[in-house]
């Protein structure tokens, strides 16, 4: 069974698969296509003027050799089964530019899977997301990299009034070097939740940044990260919320677990209020698994290794704030896998 068939069998209603710069498959369920849903290469979508005008308005402009996917969900369409984007790099450098437009009042779950199968490769992914009035997007980005792959991943989100954006980033196999940044700009009454669960591989360097601008009244944002830092890893977690309007709320929660004495972790929470009437909070903690927690679980019948795995898994699971129901089994399975990886 091909990868695409497997994804469709697991319940996806639309799949886009690209290897390097070649689009391998794009499949859209008839029920969606007939309602005006579009999934196609961005290079084709830019023949429409309105799409062209959107490019690089949610992220700083980059010079791109290639393209990625374009998704358009028309107004009032609610899709509970996930849409899936897959990008694989097998040689050289892959630069991907995706644009996702969820129109007024629609609701969508999108999973994006990126991976490498060749060493010495580079993946640069840029995703721009535009949410219309009252639109909802649950976005689960899951990566799996060869150690030697260098990764740059940036996402920019523009959320119109009363829209909501729930985002979870995980990485099953972390590369030696990764730099990611997710930036959301929220208009009146919009909300965003940016979550990261990540296990840094040994001797790796990871910078995982998130930022939210609460641009208009009534917008709310939350940034949450749970990171496990293994042997010789360097992890930096910048997180920033800027309130530019009254009656806004933002919260940052950064927690890291050091499971090796030579791991380096820094959390850099920044709260910035440009207007009175905003409520911004943060909590950050870096720690190790305590003997007390281990002792408690061992008294319940778990070996030290089992207890450690349970605690690491719990630590990662608890970082997932809003996982849509269809993705819960996938995320829980991932947390179990990551926990086992984290303790080697």
């Amino acid at each position: 069974m091909s990868v695409v068939e497997e994804i469709l069998k697991s319940g996806s209603v639309a799949v886009y698969l690209q290897r390097n710069y070649e689009v391998i498959r794009q499949v859209v369920a008839e029920s969606l296509a007939s309602r005006g849903f579009i999934l196609e290469p961005l290079s084709k979508a830019t023949s429409r003027d309105w799409v062209k005008k959107l490019l690089w308005t949610a992220l700083p402009e980059r010079i791109m050799e290639g393209s990625g996917a374009f998704i358009y969900v028309p107004p009032g369409v609610k899709i509970h089964a996930p849409l899936t984007l897959c990008f694989v790099v097998s040689k050289g450098s892959q630069k991907v530019h995706n644009v996702v437009v969820i129109d007024r009042g629609s609701e969508v779950t999108l999973t994006s899977a990126c991976s490498s199968v060749g060493s010495g490769t580079v993946h640069e992914g840029y995703t721009e997301v535009f949410l219309g009035y009252g639109a909802k997007l649950h976005y689960f980005m899951s990566h799996s990299w060869m150690r030697e792959t260098e990764v740059v991943a940036e996402s920019g989100i523009v959320a119109e009034e009363n829209s909501s954006f729930d985002y979870l980033y995980t990485c099953l196999r972390a590369p030696a070097t990764i730099s990611s940044a997710t930036r959301a700009r929220l208009k009146r009454g919009a909300s965003a939740s940016l979550s990261t669960i990540y296990v840094a591989s040994p001797n790796s360097k990871s910078k995982l940044g998130s930022s939210i601008v609460l641009a208009e009244e009534g917008s709310t944002g939350e940034i949450s990260s749970r990171v496990v830092a293994g042997r010789g890893s360097y992890v930096s977690l910048p997180a920033e919320i800027e309130a530019g309007a009254p009656d806004t709320r933002g919260h940052i929660e950064c927690r890291s677990l050091q499971v090796a004495p030579d791991a380096y972790v820094e959390t850099i929470p920044v709260l910035r209020s440009l207007s009175g009437g905003s409520q911004l909070t943060h909590e950050a903690a870096i720690g190790k698994i305590s003997d007390e927690e281990l002792g408690y679980l061992m008294s319940k019948g778990f070996t030290e290794e089992e207890a450690t795995t349970l605690l690491v898994r719990g630590f990662l699971e608890l970082g997932v704030k809003k996982v849509p129901e269809p993705l819960k089994p996938q995320v829980e399975a991932l947390a179990r896998l990551l926990a086992r990886k984290a303790i080697g």
Partner: protein
Amino acid sequence: MGSPLLKLEDLHVQVDGREIVKGVNLSVRTGEVHVLLGPNGSGKSTLLKAMVSMPGYRVTRGSIIFDGRDIRDLKPYEKARMGIALMHQHFRPLSVKFSSLATELCRTFGSSLDLISDLRVDGLMERELFRGFSGGEAKRAELALILLQRPRLALLDEPDSGVDLESLKTVGRSINTLIDMGASILLVTHTGLIAEHLKRVDTAHVMVDGRIVESGDLTYILNIVRKKGYEVFRGSRA
């Protein structure tokens, strides 16, 4: 009468180099319910923790015979898997979801979540274990985990402290479930409040200054404690 399920012989326990338990002898038969009373600092909790080899609690002399085998030097998880469960008294938040731990215990001990339906813990299941739990919630959650271990011997450390009357009844019912399951119980309490909610107590013991100084009928002993306190037991030997 068969041989006891649990037999402590001249048990001595040190914490941070200081002897807290000073030669305890105790026998519990299968299905028996024993209550251990005593003032603060008398060594009751230390005794229970040492019995399951909690880190920092060092048995320096004596033996712990469980089901005919000296288990003194076994690791905590080995004792748990033999059927000894400790209900802890103090709870610090644990970075694990209550439901995840409950599920793992079901898998390890072949139990089912139906066992804990009476404990009113449904609303706590998706939360980080013990974080922000009230006193009653923490006790009920911990007791739920004990039930899921399907223990042969349950060591219950002050299940009645810090709980309201409603929770106390629930806790009592769950201990009765353990009794119905055929578990032996060794229950530590300051006040004996929980005893009113138990279907049966076979023997009560008084522990003072690291030793069991009196054993007998619970009502008789509680009468003395309530009238004269524990001071009257100092200097006596069981």
